[in-house]
Amino acid sequence: MIAPRTDQEGSKELMSDHPGAGLPRGESPPEAAEKSVAPPRADRQRRGSPVPSLASRRALDWFVFFLADVQTGFGAFVSVYLTAQKWTQTDIGLVLTVGAFVGLVGQIPGGAIVDATRSARWVAAVAVAAVGISAFALAVAPVFVVVFASRILQAGASCVLGPAIAAISLGLVGHRLISARLGRNAAFASVGSGLAAAGMGASAYYISDRAAFILAASMAVPALFALFHIRTDEIDPTRAHGGVAKPGQRNAIAGLLSLFEIRPLLIFAGCVALFQLANAAMLPLAASMMTLRSSKFATILVATSIVAPQLIVAVLSPWVGRKAELWGRRPLLVLCFAALAVRGLLFAFLINPYLLMAAQLLDGVSGAVLAVLVPLIIADVSGNTGHFNLAQGAVGCAVGVGASISTALAGYVSDRFDSATAFLMMAGFGLLGLAAVCLAMPETRPNEERD
């Protein structure tokens, strides 16, 4: 077995799979031997697959879990809370729009920031603290200025945190094992947000709305604790940035322009934007239909259709992480878009609210696939550019644009015509995305036998 080696010139030779390839644990004897005679770290050549300690891996698991806890509930729940605080709909809409705008526009700078810093951990720590503070501020002082600032702060922090987590993961385990690692991240994150949604709902019901935000804010403390248990020396900054940028492409603008030349990245960004164009408005619209059609259990149905897909993501994403290495990325992307299109069609034709909830479970399938594949494919295609995080930011921006257009368009169509037409339109976008994946998207899994 040849030990894996990646070098700066761009050609990658990876060893053929051995049974343990998909799992983050364990290390084959040749690798261990290689590591002991590896050249000094000052040498930029990366050798062998890094094996982070169990402590670091566990710490990353829990960091992702608690971070998802903090981030949940900054969505639609904020508007419920502010309504109870006697805000008008206009003011609520304004604050949410600003937050969404910052969350969209800040994606690229956020990625650039993570690329520019040596320690992704510190950036993540500052961002987690910012999110915790903004949750606390929301709970304590729901006045316009404070909420406005809090939304901007939280949106900006989340722009940084997404790339930072992927960067830390890549820095820890390297490209060969990143697929399984991302599967694990997605599992912990979805369990975290599912539990947090349930917890916030319960505390809002039994205690008060403010208690829900205090709960979210308090999750920032264990998140920081876990973050600092990830051993710094095990995160290789070069790996975390996806290599070293070529001279002349060091700064963010030049880097961004250079990313535009990577065709698979552009195609992938388009596909994911199409996905969100179809997907973003489906849940709110379907939930509204459930409220309309179910009398006693409407709230429970909606709650289940939010939490159950998270559980499905938790179960499926490790599987996705393994299969992405084994089958390649494309079959899973096809699965993702097919689930989306089928879901749209089902929503358009089903009346029974219980069946609607069952159809919503397909969201878990698509969500699991994308949660793993988005950072994975970006890592694949931005391999040696040194702009891994910037690329994540760019794709995140495209995704955000798709999502925004989706909700506005779906709202317009369901007002003008009816909700079935809106669902059919979204299923149509899903089919378009499926066609794009089948026809245009190349397989990005690094090839074992190259040249």
Partner: protein
């Protein structure tokens, strides 16, 4: 990923702002002021009974928000202790704060105590008479809620239950109602004779 989808994106929140500004120039302050006055409207089952404090009062108000709006400044028949001999002041009434409540954001309950959502807006006609309250009904953590226009006369403000309003309708009557959309004919649910 799924929780993020529930995040209001640029599109939904922009919709909210646009629908708000289409309603006209009404500021939140005036809205609440109108709501307070509307609470005394000729509702047959209205239980409010205002007792202004003290005798006639004359206040020199630098800027009377209510005075700038012709609808809101009209004194209601119940305030017969208003100051009549006003020369250089603005007519005003001082009311005990305990007897008034803001309606924006308060909970709406059915007559059996079920949660029906919260009041998010008040609709008035061009005479300033309050027509309906918009209730944000249903949903979980803000996802899946629907805005329904409920006739003002179906709402009862019980002084014993401060901070909540009782809606004289059943949950099933509310959930099948069409959503309230600005710019379109408003479907107002309920009325004085409607029973749950």
């Amino acid at each position: 990923m799924i929780i993020r989808e529930a995040t209001p994106t640029f599109g939904t929140s922009a919709q909210r702002v646009l629908s708000g500004s289409r309603r006209g120039k009404a500021e939140p302050v005036v809205l609440v002021a109108l709501a307070l006055l509307g609470a005394q409207a000729p509702a047959s089952a209205a239980t409010r009974n205002l007792q202004p404090l003290g005798g006639p009062l004359s206040w020199h108000l630098a800027q009377a928000a209510s005075a700038s709006q012709p609808n809101a400044a009209a004194p209601t028949p119940r305030d017969d202790e208003k100051n009549k001999a006003e020369k250089a002041g603005v007519p005003a009434t001082v009311v005990d704060g305990e007897q008034l409540e803001s309606v924006l954001g308060i909970e709406a309950l059915s007559s059996t105590g079920e949660d029906m959502g919260r009041i998010v807006d008040i609709i008035v006609d061009h005479d300033g008479q309050v027509t309906a309250a918009i209730i944000d009904f249903g949903g979980f953590l803000g996802v899946g809620s629907r805005k329904i226009a409920v006739d003002w006369r179906s709402l009862h403000f019980d002084p014993k239950k401060a901070g909540a309003v009782v809606v004289n309708l059943a949950k099933d009557q509310l959930r099948v109602a069409p959503i309230y959309k600005t710019g379109e004919p408003v479907v107002v649910i309920g009325g004085p004779g409607v029973k749950p």
